[in-house]
Amino acid sequence: MPAEGMTELDREKLSQLIEAHADRPGALLPILQAVQAGFGHVADTFVPVIAERLNLSRAEVHGVLTFYHDFRRQPAGRRVLKLCRAEACQAMGAVDLLAQAEHRLATAMPGTRADGAVTLEPVYCLGLCSVAPAAMLDGRLVGRLDAGRLDALIDEVLA
């Protein structure tokens, strides 16, 4: 099996994650989601393993992996801060908050801070448009964001 660069443990874990979903119709997305949840990202070395199990070409798996914004091919920072930059949040000052986050984290969006503390990403709507501007820190939702609350979030991330 072409899975160079992986430990035996990783190989075992990957195989389990794949097998849990492989028999579902349209299994590729659930598998990629499970692999990312398990490893934090979908490494390029995983692609041929997934392709072989689903009887797909590597190109097909690569194509899906790179199409969707959620999938990562490299590990993210220790925390992930997503700031909404869709229209409703813009109407409440999101553009200034993005600039504030980029400045304080010394990271351009999208990007990961040099010390790996945080990945800063845009998100296009969290469905919190009535309590805008909105953000998501790891899995935690934050609404009614303003400069002070964003500063507090960033303090938490950098602590």
Binding site: E60, V64, F67, H69, C129, V131, A134
Partner: protein
């Protein structure tokens, strides 16, 4: 007596600290030695009051909000468990003008019941639509939906009954019901609220659809940005299976129908129905050319009904109360109610379900004007692909045809308000940028046009020959509108051209009104 407190578990409430408030209330109740239960209900839709905590008293449920963790001790000290006065006291929620003015058909239970409890759903009238449907012939079920006048509330406005009839008449070894819960439009959150606040209503609507068209498998495709909705739906599907509302023998009818939850992976274009089907099948979310229609050749090549959450969730009411009771609401060819979402720079943001026909200006009044207190300058209706409206068009009534006539669309019913600090050239540039980021890449007008649009807007914003850039953008918009495969490329010209038409002063042009003086 057991104390019952409701603290919304809706994502908008949680984003405003509802989980911490629930924990603080729980700790206080435990410390007092009360016998209590805390129910995490959905949201009533008065989002500026979230977290809106409700206590069950002898005179009904009394609400307080917005409650912060720091307010909890004070609420207890004032006797809020008995509904006592407090500066945060809202009173009976149903008496609040924002709720009292609504016509809640689809959202009747949202925020009222425990969304995790099938028993609570039944106790509040849930299930009567499905029971009624089981006594009817398939032909009568289709007639019921057609007679209701229900149109697709995802944005396209296609008659739901006609779609169901097409699938019912199409032969296939298997058929599917797919619920589009990929609610990606900024300014919209009704699907999310319904899934979090009344998930059994969606399940019931899908089950009725399944037995009407002869489908045994349903899929709900929810976007990954909605973790709370995903959890609430997954929990409800399990409970529905346990209660035999789903499975091999639905309510002992001998009919089978089950639902699988699928989660998106961050692609706006998957809200387009054929891209969504591709995504469920495990491929890139690329748009399919139509025909064939999904009704003929949809998921896995089989006849498929694909409807939005709100369309399917309107169905239980239509069956329980009869199609006439739905059709009697609304205006012209827009029948029934629309759950309208008030968002952006508004004082009173939230969900407002009302019959079609209110004007845009009336809706902005209901939203209480801007949160910033500055004048309203522009309102985007229908998400990122919807047109921007200036105040002089606020008399446009909220229905499909009137909005089309005014050069816009109602889309999924989102209204995003901007105050006078907005730069419309920036918003037009953003519309192109969003289209470029989210384009599936299949058709050239969208894939390339959006990028060229951003570049052209950048030149215009820099003051480089603005008249020429405006002409280029008008031309490009024509190409995208008529040459794109789906609404992403095809409708991006709506926000762009409406911004240029109604706010020319932001695009380096003299305002026509000013020039005429």
């Amino acid at each position: 007596m057991t104390v019952t407190v409701y603290v919304p578990g809706d994502a908008a409430a949680v984003a405003c600290d509802a989980d911490a408030v629930a924990r603080a209330i729980e700790a206080a109740l435990a410390a007092r030695g009360e016998d209590f239960v805390i129910i995490r209900n959905g949201s009533r839709g008065l989002h500026w009051l979230e977290p809106l905590v409700e206590v069950v008293t002898d005179t009904g449920r009394i609400a307080y909000g917005p409650v912060a963790v720091e307010d909890v001790a004070d609420l207890f000290a004032c006797g809020f468990l008995a509904g006592a006065d407090h500066r945060l006291r809202v009173g009976r929620p149903e008496d609040h003008p924002f709720l009292a003015g609504q016509t809640r058909l689809t959202f009747a239970r949202c925020g009222v019941i425990d969304p995790a409890s099938l028993d609570a759903y039944r106790a509040h009238g849930g299930g009567r639509g499905l029971e009624k449907a089981l006594t009817m012939t398939a032909a009568d079920r289709i007639e019921t939906v057609k007679n209701s006048g229900l149109r697709g509330l995802g944005g396209a406005g296609f008659p739901v009954g006609v779609k169901w009839e097409t699938v019912a008449r199409t032969e296939g070894p298997r058929k599917y019901v797919v619920c589009n819960a990929d609610e990606g439009d900024s300014g919209t959150f009704a699907d999310r609220m319904l899934m979090e606040g009344d998930p059994f209503c969606l399940i019931e609507g899908m089950a009725i659809c399944g037995l009407t068209v002869g489908a045994t498998q349903g899929y709900i495709y929810v976007r990954s940005e909605y973790p709370h909705a995903i959890a609430a739906m997954a929990r409800a599907i399990e409970a529905a299976r346990a209660g035999r509302w789903l499975g091999a023998d639905l309510l002992s009818s001998g009919l089978a129908f089950d639902i699988e939850l699928r989660v998106g992976a961050g692609a706006y274009v998957c809200g387009e129905e054929t891209a969504l089907l591709e995504s469920i099948e495990g491929r890139r979310g690329q748009v399919r050319a139509k025909p064939p229609l999904p009704a003929h050749k949809g998921l896995f090549g089989m006849p498929t009904v694909i409807n939005n959450v709100l369309s399917l969730a309107a169905v239980p009411f239509i069956f329980a109360e009869g199609p006439k009771s739905f059709r009697d609401f609304g205006v012209g060819r827009s029948r029934g109610t629309m759950p309208i979402q008030l968002a952006g720079n508004v004082k009173h943001g939230g969900l407002y379900e009302t019959p079609f026909g209110l004007t845009l200006g009336e809706l902005i009044l209901i939203a209480g004007g801007t949160a910033s207190g500055r004048p309203v300058r522009a309102v985007q209706v229908g998400g990122p692909l919807g047109a921007y409206f200036p105040p002089r068009l606020f008399d446009t009534p909220f229905d499909y045809e009137a909005f089309m006539a005014a050069g816009g669309l109602i889309g999924h019913g989102g209204i995003t308000v901007f105050d006078d600090s907005v730069d419309m050239a920036r918003m037009a540039r953003f519309a192109f940028e969003f289209c470029a980021i989210e384009s599936c890449g299949k058709c050239t007008p969208c894939r390339i046009g959006a990028v060229r649009g951003v570049e052209t807007m950048d030149r215009l914003i820099a003051g480089d020959r603005p008249a020429e850039q405006r002409a280029l953008i008008a031309d490009l918009s024509e190409t995208m509108k008529f040459g794109s495969l789906c609404a992403l490329g095809g409708f991006t010209p709506f926000p762009v051209m409406s911004a240029i038409t109604h706010f020319p002063e932001d695009f380096g042009a003299d305002h026509p009104a000013a020039a005429a003086e």
